[in-house]
């Protein structure tokens, strides 16, 4: 990863694309402090992200999903999403043990919000199903709902369409529109070009750790530098 910088505007869907090994996942891991950059720093809204403990990142307004979904398998869809609200709720061991009135109210609010978020991503029917029992495509949507429960300003999605069939990809795209329309900014790393070209307002192209292009989908599609980078990959694949 080499000196990549780009801006994300509020209420946009921004896609990060690039050939394999371009550094897309590393970018996400650095942005959420799961990885530490060798040098340099990540700024979010003028605040330093680098060096923070990873569980604190979500409190500064960045939530994420994982390439390999990291759901809580034994917990129901709603419990997964409620756990996602951890950063924006307060009840600790003692307050919960004593069932202080404010914790009961907080619990009720979180449960309602979780139900709303599940409907938002189209999982209203799966509320009480354990995550382990959900089909692959829906698990990705569940992880998105869980990330949203932290009320992030920016949502980072790491290859949300990987392994989805056509219908599931369409459902994903619709969920992304609804999330954006609620005012949440989305940054998505994705291989599925159809999805990227359709949903993103702007695209950043990485190649071997560098940013080689940035712009709206229409321009990126015609950019000779981008085409060369991808062609290079295809040739390498053929070899």
């Amino acid at each position: 990863m080499d000196d990549v910088s780009f801006d994300v505007h509020d209420g946009q869907i921004k896609a990060v694309i690039g050939p394999n090994g371009a550094g897309k996942s590393t970018l996400f891991n650095v942005m959420t402090a799961f990885d530490r950059p060798d040098a340099g720093s990540v700024l979010f809204d003028g605040d330093e992200v680098t060096g923070k403990r990873p569980h604190l990142i979500v409190r500064s307004g960045i939530a994420r999903t994982f390439q390999n979904t990291q759901l809580f398998e034994d917990m129901t869809a709603r419990e997964n999403v409620m756990a996602g609200a951890h950063a924006v709720t307060k009840a600790g061991f003692f307050a919960s043990a004593l069932r202080l009135p404010w914790t009961v109210q907080e619990e009720r609010d979180v449960a309602e919000e979780a139900a709303r978020l599940l409907r938002l991503v189209g999982l209203g029917e799966w509320t009480n199903t354990p995550a382990a029992d959900m089909p692959h495509g829906l698990r990705r949507l569940l992880e998105i709902a869980r990330a949203l429960a932290a009320r992030p300003r920016v949502l980072l999605l790491d290859e949300p369409a990987a392994g989805l069939n056509m219908a599931e990809t369409v459902a994903l795209a619709e969920a992304l529109y609804r999330i954006r329309d609620e005012g949440t900014t989305i940054v998505v790393v994705e291989h599925d070009m159809g999805l990227v070209m359709e949903v993103s307002d702007e695209i950043v192209v990485l190649d071997r750790g560098r940013k080689i292009a940035e712009g709206p989908p229409r321009l990126i599609q015609k950019d000779p530098v981008v085409i060369a980078a991808y062609l290079g990959e295809e040739e390498a694949d053929e070899l």
């Binding site: 891991n29 799961f34 990885d35 530490r36 994982f66």
Partner: protein
Amino acid sequence: MGAVELLQFALAGLKNGAIYALVALGFTLVYAATGAINFAQGEFYMLGGMLSVWAYAGLGLPLPLAGLVGVAMTALVGGVFELLAVRPRKDGDLLAIIIITVGGSMVLSSAARHLFGPLEKALPAFTSTGTVSIFGAVLEIQSLWILGLTTLAVVALWYLYNRTSLGRAMRACAVNRDAARLVGIDPRRIVTVSFMLAAALGALAGLAVTPLTQTAFDVGPSVGIKGFAAAILGGLGNPIAAVAGGIVLGMLESMSIAFISSTYKDAIALVVLLGVLFWRPQGIFGASRREKV
């Protein structure tokens, strides 16, 4: 304290350190193969001593043969334990394997009590009960045996690791099980072999120590903790460092007896364990590692 007395304590530390090193090697082998801590490792040490006593006093075998029988039978027990209790847990879940070895430890020590009774057992010294004098400090001949056998075991293990195809397969599994499987290595077999080797190493330690300190069905856990502290001190997963960790721990214990008191010498291992975990989890000889997402 005079130089001779200090040397006396240092020699005792070296002897105990060699024992911890063998037990630590056992932890290291199983950890490399499974990623789990084997809580039954101390029981292999116990069985090595108890089974040798049984072969010597019960079967009337000559001592060298009895020792061989003790170590070989313990290795067999290690292998059978792996096959019956660890392998059936196919997902290899670490927490599950650890808990299984905790249960196994309980069963093994209890079985030893059923078979051999609750009393302490002893073996005669391998060659002589005499001592040698080193710059005025006294060392039992049996301690020389302990040091010699440990050295031999370490060399044999080094040879196995670096010069045999089995050793290469074990190292490959430690780095990446899936890749090892692709080149035709069966990781399950490596796990079984690792348990057997770990059991044999623990048994060797238990055998060598029994003429000096006696043994009983319940000696396993405390030796297990020390061996583990030694393995952690070296950096879990690295055999050479585990041996060094054992020696360092033995020395620290000896010096604590020399300068503080012998009552709480067993606490040294716990302090070392917690201290290493807190300040240097990769061990004093390990390079720092970062975890990947």
